[in-house]
């Protein structure tokens, strides 16, 4: 419950920040028009959008609209911004979902195996993936994947949206960072847990190694990884903005960049709001997962 309040505060803070940056630092009319617009054109837009009203009236109108999901009319598509955004939402969820569903189990597997066999080939491989994850620009990896697998080998389409073959390269590009970071954390927390007395107890009771690892150590090792999974999911949704642009994937990220290029402020706000909601929702899910892995934490 406290987490929920916290999330709402963050969301409201974001809306306020967006209002502050667009209405107070900048002038929405100027932001929407091309730089070469005349003063009369700017004035006309200001009038139409009610930008000559007192600032507090504008603020309440803006907040009221944002709470109801009304961001105004998209200038580019001449239709309300919200439905346009909602139309693209499933595509982003699809890409992010596939990436996470592959990355987390794979990271867990890599982390656990490297903890059980330190110094082995898999351990060293996962160290390399971990380093790559924090050193490679994900959008560049995307470009390299296109160059190698799509242009040279012709195995996958270079960009676009369609059957399963379209999702593989963008998901791979998005995956490296969370895969590397999560597997490293799972490895070290697994090593910690395997040295704990309760593991020795379980072993001396004659439990099989598989039971010790899967039922005892893994559950406890998952807790530090969970925090990171929340952060990485947020980073993933941020990263999707760039990756979608590279692969021409018609999700919210690409829509956001297209809206920015067309100076379509209502649509930009709708996209930012949607991505923020997804990130906050992901964090809430992670918090719920804590209670599953660690019964000592209970939210009241």
């Amino acid at each position: 419950m406290r987490r929920l309040v916290h999330s709402v505060v963050v969301l409201l803070g974001l809306v306020v920040a967006v209002f502050f940056f667009t209405h107070m630092l900048g002038d929405p009319a100027r932001l929407m028009l091309r730089p070469e617009a005349t003063a009369e054109q700017v004035e006309a837009v200001r009038d139409r959008l009610g930008l000559n009203d007192p600032l507090h009236e504008q603020f309440f109108r803006f907040m009221g609209g944002a709470v109801r999901g009304d961001f105004g009319e998209s200038i580019w598509q001449r239709a309300p911004a919200l439905p346009i955004m909602l139309d693209r939402l499933p595509n982003t969820l699809y890409l992010a979902g596939i990436t996470i569903l592959i990355a987390i189990p794979l990271a867990a597997l890599l982390g656990i195996v490297s903890a059980l066999r330190p110094g082995s080939l898999i351990d060293r491989a996962s160290t390399v993936v971990g380093l790559a994850g924090v050193s490679i620009a994900d959008f560049w990896l995307g470009l390299m994947l296109i160059l190698f697998f799509a242009v040279n080998l012709g195995w996958f389409p270079t960009s676009g949206f369609g059957g399963p073959q379209y999702v593989i390269l963008p998901a791979l590009a998005l995956m490296v960072r969370p895969l590397g970071r999560i597997s490293q954390v799972i490895r070290s927390s697994m090593l910690d847990q395997l040295g704990q007395p309760y593991v020795t107890t379980a072993r001396s009771k004659g439990l099989s190694e598989r039971v010790v690892v899967t039922l005892h150590a893994m559950k406890n090792a998952a807790i530090p990884a969970l925090t990171l999974i929340g952060d990485e999911t947020a980073a993933l949704l941020n990263g999707a903005v760039v990756i979608e642009t590279v692969f021409g994937w018609p999700g919210i990220g690409l829509l956001l960049i297209q809206a920015i290029e067309r100076r379509d402020l209502p649509l930009i706000e709708a996209c930012v709001f949607a991505i923020a909601v997804m990130i906050i929702f992901a964090n809430l899910l992670v918090d719920l997962a804590y209670t599953f892995f660690d019964p000592r934490i209970r939210y009241t």
Binding site: H6, A17, L25, A137, W140, A276
Partner: protein, 322 residues
């Protein structure tokens, strides 16, 4: 591990740790140098970084061509093409405007390193100061600062950066400030937790008992202990910032088009991914090498400066330095 090895190790470790408390700055530097020479990856990383920094500083002298010089006859020429029969070749090819990719990369190093260093400096100073205040004075100041950190952490930082840059437009200082604003919390958290663990320590209590003022305790006793973990963090953060700057520039919201930045070069080369591989390969490699070197160096520095791990290095050193 047999009893005798254990004893030997312990003695060696204690011996080493004692000697590590080298009273002089020179002794400490000598120790770092020894430790660096032992780790080949870290040594290579520091050589690479040093080379990068030198190349960035002396870019006009190092670059074979003017990075802005266009030549329509050389559009997208592959690597090693010579502009004239006996001229120095375009080692990494030419871009869509016939500019030398290598020269642009060299000038791009300037941009990336400058953005990284400046925003790390700003966010580090602000974040560490706030973390220090929160951890040392506790109470309501701590609550306010850490609550702000929590809320700020929950913000989608890239989105915030996108919005701000959309409003303010592209520009060096805009990017630097936006990146500093989105990253200061990391330092605040780390510094606070360090201060919390140190302030209950005996040496702080002793300092207080001998009548040191808060300011003396902070500057003389806490700061020296905070310095190396914060420097390690700053190294890691530089890599992160360079990656984010590249993303922002790639999206067209970072640096102005006139600046040769690695992210912008990738954005401009993207169109030609099917015909001119060198345009998208080399700038990304430059980012990768820089970030990798920073990450490797930070990993090494963390191990060396952590007193709990330092003996591993000390144990393997030549007797002269033990």
């Amino acid at each position: 591990m047999s009893a005798s090895t254990l004893t030997r190790t312990t003695v060696a470790a204690a011996d080493a740790v004692n000697n590590l408390r080298a009273p002089t700055r020179q002794g400490r530097l000598a120790f770092l140098w020894q430790a660096l020479r032992m780790d080949r990856l870290a040594l290579l990383s520091s050589v690479v970084l040093l080379a990068m920094i030198l190349i960035a500083i002396f870019a006009p002298a190092v670059a074979p061509y003017d990075p802005a010089k266009q030549s329509l006859s050389m559009r997208n020429d592959p690597p090693m093409t010579r502009p004239a029969p006996d001229a120095f070749p375009y080692v990494m090819g030419a871009d869509a405007l016939g500019r030398d990719v290598l020269s642009r990369l060299i000038f791009g190093a300037r941009v990336s390193l400058a953005v990284g260093a400046t925003s790390v400096l700003i966010s580090g100073l602000v974040g560490a100061t706030l973390g220090l205040i929160a951890g040392y004075y506790r109470g309501s100041v701590d609550d306010v600062i850490m609550r702000a950190v929590d809320v700020w952490m929950g913000f989608p930082s890239l989105l915030l950066a996108l919005i701000v840059l959309y409003v303010t437009g592209a520009g060096f200082w805009n990017v630097v400030l936006v990146l500093a604003v989105t990253r200061w919390m990391v330092y605040a958290r780390v510094t606070r937790s360090l201060v919390l663990s140190y302030r209950e320590n005996v040496f702080v209590e002793a300092a207080r008992a001998t009548g040191c003022t808060d300011r003396e305790i902070i500057t003389r006793h806490l700061l020296p202990n905070l310095l190396s973990p914060i420097l390690v963090l700053a190294t890691l953060e530089t890599a992160t910032i360079i990656l984010i700057e590249a993303s922002l520039s790639f999206l067209g919201l970072g640096l102005p088009l006139s600046v040769p930045s690695w992210g912008l070069m990738l954005a401009q080369g993207r169109e030609y991914v099917t015909t001119a591989w060198w345009l998208v390969t080399f700038p990304g490699l430059a980012i990768l090498i820089t970030a990798l070197a920073l990450n490797l160096l930070a990993t090494w520095a963390r191990a060396v400066t952590d007193p709990a791990q330092r003996w591993r290095f000390a144990r393997k050193m030549k007797p002269a330095h033990r």
